[in-house]
Each structure stands twice: as structure tokens, then as C-alpha cells.
Symmetry: C2
Subunit: 338 residues, 2 copies
Amino acid sequence: MASIKDVAAEAGVSVATVSRVLNSHPSVSPDAQRRVLAAVDVLGYRPNAVARSLRTDQTRTLGLVISDVLNPYFTELARFVEEEARALGYSVIIGNADEQPDLQEHHVRTLLDRRIDGLLVSPADGSSPLTPGAAGSGTPMVFVDRCIQGVDVPVVRADGRDAIRDLVAHLHRLGHRRLAIIAGPAATTTGNERVEAFREALREHGLALPDAYIGQGDFQTDSGRRATERFLALPEPPEVVFAADNLMALGALDAIRARGLRVPQDIGLAAFDDIPWFLHTDPPITAIAQPTGELGRAAVRALVDLIEGRSPQSVTLPARLVVRSSCGERASNPRSNL
Amino acid sequence: MASIKDVAAEAGVSVATVSRVLNSHPSVSPDAQRRVLAAVDVLGYRPNAVARSLRTDQTRTLGLVISDVLNPYFTELARFVEEEARALGYSVIIGNADEQPDLQEHHVRTLLDRRIDGLLVSPADGSSPLTPGAAGSGTPMVFVDRCIQGVDVPVVRADGRDAIRDLVAHLHRLGHRRLAIIAGPAATTTGNERVEAFREALREHGLALPDAYIGQGDFQTDSGRRATERFLALPEPPEVVFAADNLMALGALDAIRARGLRVPQDIGLAAFDDIPWFLHTDPPITAIAQPTGELGRAAVRALVDLIEGRSPQSVTLPARLVVRSSCGERASNPRSNL
DNA sequence: ATCGTCGCTGTAATCGATTCCACGGCTCTG
DNA sequence: CAGAGCCGTGGAATCGATTACAGCGACGAT
């Protein structure tokens, strides 16, 4: 592949001049510029980003470490992140942690080795040592969706508290009293927060959240299935199951079907995270929607602010309840929540 | 961030020795090795992958350009690709083309600029000039899922012909005669092939595929919706709609619902690409499943073969029909297709 | 005693870019 | 007309690694 030297030779100028033309530096004569551009064209030259990065100490690349690419919520987030980053002139390298702390470590390390300009992380596990360490390594970093307590890094996330309160009110209005939750891993902030918000909302209605109604999940389909099976085996099973993410809701649906039960007649189901498929499940699933696009864009903007020396603030956006029919009542206007 | 020089100084050796230790070169004294390792530890040194890549002319990175990350099929493919690549010591950078040729160009160019060691592409559009050009650029390349005719590059893909024949036979057995297809873009091989296989399978049953029963889609949800609306407005609408990918099937389901029709009583629906959600839609959707994991792994192995100087062959794996109930008959044993 | 060999180490070139500095030639000014 | 200033340009240092080559002791063989 042609290098800057080849271009310089072809154009009859020095590499310095070629570099200046390529970086649109002002002091280049029109003639030299023309010759360089022609040489670039002839040779099909493309600057070597690796060499450039080494010299300039910037890669114009952002790292994004997400907990699980197969989760449509994160896929969507990743898409928006890439879009916004591209608009700002950055590329994005995605690392998929698959909810495994050591995989998360691996990706953070790899990305840091590549000298990415900034890191966007949705930590799978707060207790892993490297990720906080990365914060201290001087690489700009922003948490998205989830965070690690006690690490001083801007966080961009959605607050589901109000939406969960709305959900519980909705369920209470429908006459449901025995409400269960499938929680995420205790190591994640989103795992804890959603349980706490749920518990608090229940308390406002004079309801308790017994331990038996808290299923321990890990944000993966299987754990939703297992937790639901345990609920259904209880002497007094819950009337509604609320899954803390969409994959566990899918697992819950599996488990309910396998028992030969129907939603919502026999048991209600609601989920955190709304995805297009929830409209088409049997029945359509009531869910809490996060403003994924805004989240992704805000996260990139915060990170780029950090990289370019401005100081960003943390961002918290509201989530909202989308009522469908999986808890016992079809939304009054079925088209309204499409 | 500490560089190799700092480590050399700290350990009291030259940079050459440090490099040798880091690359486990044989001729280093145990003493020097110990001192270097200690220095690495003290400084928290990590080799700069950018500098290393510049010198060695290899990045140990693969590029993967896919047509649409939001399509669960591609997401899954990407996951398996990353997994296999990691096992072989490579990282993966994903570029999402969003079915737009110019975005695809952008990503291919960016990846090439980064001097990735190899490129895995699922071309959104065969007519774009850069991607074939990239093949000539000396960067190893493999097509996955889709290919560009006339470009001499190994292809790893699934052949849906037999599965489509099975599907048509299944539909015929159920008494359906008016079968329509929502095709993918004509510029993609998968777009054409599926229509041709469908047409051929129909012919075997003495059925025709009138133009009115071929909807032009672009593998996106909306196009599935629009094509289906057109089908339903026909004086004699089809009895079954076969969508050439899962997103268009989703759109078709939307359109059918919006008309107040029921699946499968009023109209049947089948899709190419099977995804977990199809089990939980109303009704569960009959689909053609690709061996995504095998596809992703085979693609990476072929690419790495190419990179490391072995000569890989193209791979074609069979897809298979998964019968559910969206075409009029519940599978005999509902658990058998989970 | 001398020479070759072997093991270990350091010096320096190199990868492909960016950028500081100096220099030659020109114009402008006093 | 001399000196200052500016413009365009090239030479060379630099980023952080890898690696060819040479040097240097120690040791064994002759």
C-alpha cells in the first residue's frame, strides 16, 4: 500500500508538503497542492490511520463496552452511539461483555491498549477492579445505563422510578395485589434500583414485597424462566410478574406457557425496556420504555466533551410506562402506543 | 501513560530487552526477565497497540461490516464472529451499514484506513465500487451471508433453497395456493435468491408467482408493512405472505393487524430468518432458520486462513424450516421447535 | 594461550505519519 | 538599497514499539 513517501515522490515534493495538503494546512502553494492531489489520486493513497494515531496521540475512536449485544435494548443503544459518534467524527469499537465481568475486563483492557480516545461503559459488574482503574488511567470515560458506585465518572442513564410507580399504580387499579419482580444482578445499579423503586411503589399502596416474590435474575432469558417457574410453584403465586429487562420477560413468558397458563388471564406480565417485538407477542406486553436514542446521543456528547476538555455533567432522563394488554386490560386506544 | 522506555529505565535494561521479555523471546536472562516484569508491574505498563501495529504491520483486528445491526439475525452473527475471532486472538470492529451503500462504503474505507488484517462483509449493495475495490487492495476479505457476483472472494452463507421448498410444500399441504413474497433489495444476492427459490418451488407445485404477489422490500420493517398493505388491497389478496427476512415479517404483522385481520385465520405469514421472538408472537411464526453460529464461526475461520496464508474454501450450510402456527396449523408437538 | 561459540545485551534503523525549525526567495518599507 | 517580514518548502526529530546486527564475556576445545 502506498505511503506518504510514495506520494511525495510522485508529486515531486517532500513528505511535509504532502502532509500539509492532506491536513489542509494553509501555507501550501496552489501548484504543489494540485500536484499532491493528483499523486494521491494516481496512487489511490489513503493515509495510514495507525501511523497518524501514533504521532498525534489520538485515534478518533470511542470504545463502547455493553453488557449484552443480544439484548435489543443495548443493540439499539449501540446503534445510536455509533450514529452520534460518526456525526462528531469518531468511530466506535463495540465490546460485548455478555454480562460476564471477566469479558468486560478483557474488552476494557483491549480498548485501552488500542489507545481509544474515550470509553463508554455499561458495567456488567461493579466489583471488577479494572474498570474503575481505567477511570484513573487518564482515559476519558462515561458510564451509560448503569454505573459503579463511588467512581467519579459522569453517568448517562434513565430513571425508571416514576415509570415503575406508574406501573404499580396501573396494576393496583386493575385489582392486582400480589406483585412479583425478577431482579437483575445485585452487582448492577439497574438491578438494585428497579427492585427498590418497585418496593417503594408497592409500599405507597400498602403492599409488601415478600422475599419469595423477588426472583434473582441475571438479565438473561434463562434466569427469567427459572425465576418464574419458582414463582409459579409457590403455594400462593403472584398475580403479576414484572421482569427487570426484556430478555427475562421473554423467559418468563416461556415458563408461563410451559405451565399451560395464559397471559393475562392466569397471570400478568410486565417488563422493563420496551422493544418493537413487545407489540407482537401474545399478548402485547406492557413495558417501561427508555429513551434509548437520547441516552446514546447524550452519552457520546458527554464523552466527547470530556475528551475535548469541556466538563460534561451527568444526565438522567425519564423512562415512561407503555400500557398494553399483558396485565389484564387492553389500552383504551390500541394504536396509541405503537 | 508509561512507555517501553520508562519500563527499560525502571528495570535498568534497554528497550530491546523489555520488548524481548514482552514477546517471550528466548534469549533473555532470568534475572533481566524478573526485573522487567517487576518494572511492568510497578508502572502498570501496557504495550501501545498502535505503535506495535505500525511496526509489525498487523493489527490483529478483523473488520465486520453488516447490513443492519438492529436485525437480530445480524446481531447474533456479529456475536458469534466476535467470539470465534477472540478465540483466535483477534479483535473485531463492527461497522453497521444500515442497508445504505454509502454507509457501507464509509465503514469499509474507515476499516481499511485502520489497516485491519481482514474484512468480513455482508454487502448491502453489490453495485458499490469500493467494496470490490477493497478486494483488490490486498486486504484479505470474505463475504458472509450475502456476496457480490463476479468478485473473487470466498463466501460463507446459508442455502435456503431446500428450506424454501419445504416451506412451499408445507403451505401447499395446508391447502394454500395464492402465495406472495416480500423480497429483499434486488441488489443483494439474498434478495434475489429467495425469490427465485420461492418461484421455483411454486412451479414444482404447478403454481405461478404473479408480479402482484412480489412485494419489493428493503429488509426493513416499514417496507414489509407497505408491501403487505398493497397485497391486502389486491382484489384477490394472497392466502400466505412469506417475508424474506424477520424485520419485514414484523412489518407484515403490523399491517395485517392494522387491517383488523387475524393470523393465520385470515392470512398466513412465514419468514426467512428465525429469531427467539418468533416463538412468542401472536401466533408463533413459521420461519426458516439459518445456522447463524456456524456461519459466523466458519466466516472467521475462512478469513483467518486467508490472513495467515492458507487458502480457504467457500462454505455453504443448509437452512431449515421451523414449522409453527402462523400458516394455519399448529406444529404437532408445540415444544418440539423451541 | 588462542580461537570459536554461545548466551545475553544494547545500539540503531525502521514503520508512516506530524510538526518544529530553518532557509531561500520575494515583496515591502524606510 | 538594506533589512524586515512573509510565504512556501524541505530536513529532521518524534511518537512507541520491533528486530537486525554487533559487541561482549565466559567457556570449552585444540
